[in-house]
Symmetry: C2
Subunit: 304 residues, 2 copies
């Protein structure tokens, strides 16, 4: 099953010439999930050939402008391009008021339904569950209410061992029972244990999106063992004081968090505009966690 | 006196890969005036090296998103970059409510004052007047309340004829009187008429910004004889029906308007995303008005 994330923006609050504010698009089994939508996200989607019509879920972490100011423009474009199918919008409750006000004053009534699912920054909740994925909010520690998002693949059914099935000539009607873990009893009453006939499917993979937040161990348990951990790394650690005041994380801390939570791989982003190049941030994160990569715009990372 | 306009965005409602939504920056005597601020304007400013700190006036024509969705991001960046000096914001009254709501939910109190000047789409009013320029609103005909803006250079003082002044040995104390049109009386009581000693300054130049609007002769009188007329030209004339329904103008009509209002030069923009290239729009406008140019992003047009 495809499970990958493409970076559309990796800048923090003020944009810099070659970096856009935060946005990412997850592809899970060919369904697209947009996470945050900073100003210019729809232009980035055009640039990287991401079709807005394929996005049915949008997640907004918090109401600092660099995480949502591209949303009303994107919704308007979806509307103008004839969208009819529903869109699920997972976000803080106040965002509905902002969107409604802007649509009202532009005299726009969207031609597609928006189904709001409001986040609660005080406690984790399941906000989306479908055949591919379960998404939970991650309460983070920022200046205003902010939640990350944990995408957990649904556990797949067990896989049939083809040779066994064929040699026993098991009827097709039994396959779904076997995939769900049931045993097989043949016509003579002989029982074959499920473990002989199937193998377990791969462990579900997880993508943990943590932006914006300061270092706070409260959410470490929830993101433990992430297949891919995206964590903000706004500053180098020589600006730790500034990171604490503004409720952000340093690259050194991001590496430490990946290490402590046993992530398989770390992706850092949300870089301050003061850093014209990013190698120092990467090197600093790697001190604690060598398997780190930079969230470069346009780049796709496989969650595997 | 410098009087020029640089195009930051020329797309209509839905952005297209290589065109941003509407925004322009006027440079009048080294003061910058931003007109409209579509999504991504601050990124365009970075791209074309326009310093946000030099902008003290912003004009918003109307509340369709492609004309203002970049504004809150720009204000936030000004704030984060330490701006303290006041900003004049000329806009529909409802924009203040939108901005206040977004700032409130991001827990941001701007560190600089915003002085609002609200437009009235029913009648033309002077909204800015300083030593360089007078700016009037132009009531346009769009689906929602919309005003264009007419920038009129202030008439400069008369110019002294150096040779005359020197040959008569006129004291410096008289210069300002002469520049304002007064006569000179020498010590013996002889009167020298102002016309002998000075020449008139150049005729004030004007820039008329008309977006968004359908063809409507009501505003033709106000924009007459513009040095440079910017007019929207969303569609080719084979889509005139669509232009009428959506309250936009065709390129053919834009040329006709420039002709009828005796513009010196026409600049067309606000192109529909359906046009991948723009030459057909340019050719069509030129049928009525040969002195037409395309509002290409990053290009500067001298108003002379």
């Amino acid at each position: 099953m495809k499970f990958e994330v493409t970076i559309l923006g990796s800048s923090s609050a003020t944009p810099i010439f070659n970096r856009n504010p935060t946005s990412q698009v997850l592809n899970i089994n060919e369904r697209l999930y947009l996470i945050d939508c900073g100003e210019g996200t729809q232009q980035q989607m055009l640039r990287f050939d991401i079709k807005a019509s394929r996005i049915d879920h949008i997640f907004i972490s918090h109401l600092h402008g660099d995480h949502y100011l591209g949303l009303v423009g994107l919704l308007s474009s979806m509307h103008l391009n004839g969208r009819k199918k529903a869109l699920k919008l997972v976000c803080p409750v106040q965002l509905k008021e902002i969107i409604d006000l802007q649509l009202r004053y532009s005299d726009t009534e969207l031609q597609f339904p928006v189904e709001y699912i409001f986040t609660n920054a005080q406690q984790s909740e399941v906000v989306i569950s479908n055949s591919d994925v379960i998404v939970e909010t991650i309460p983070l520690d920022h200046r205003i209410a902010c939640t990350g998002f944990l995408f957990k693949e649904k556990k797949r059914l067990r896989k049939l061992v083809k040779e066994k099935i064929e040699s026993l000539d098991i009827p097709v009607a039994y396959y779904s029972v076997l995939k769900k873990g049931g045993d097989y009893t043949d016509e003579k009453g002989k029982v074959y244990k499920n473990e002989e006939l199937t193998i377990d499917s791969a462990e579900p993979k997880t993508y943990a999106y943590c932006s914006d937040t300061m270092y706070n161990e409260n959410y470490f348990g929830q993101i433990a063992n992430a297949t891919l951990l995206y964590h903000e790394a706004t500053f180098l650690n020589d600006m730790l004081d500034r990171a604490v005041i503004t409720h952000h994380t340093t690259a050194l801390q991001a590496g430490e968090i990946a290490l402590k939570t046993n992530a398989k791989k770390l992706l850092i982003g949300h870089f301050s505009a003061r850093y014209k190049t990013l190698n120092e941030l990467l090197d600093e994160a790697k001190i604690n966690f060598p398997s780190t990569e930079l969230a470069i715009e346009g780049k796709t990372f496989f969650i595997e």
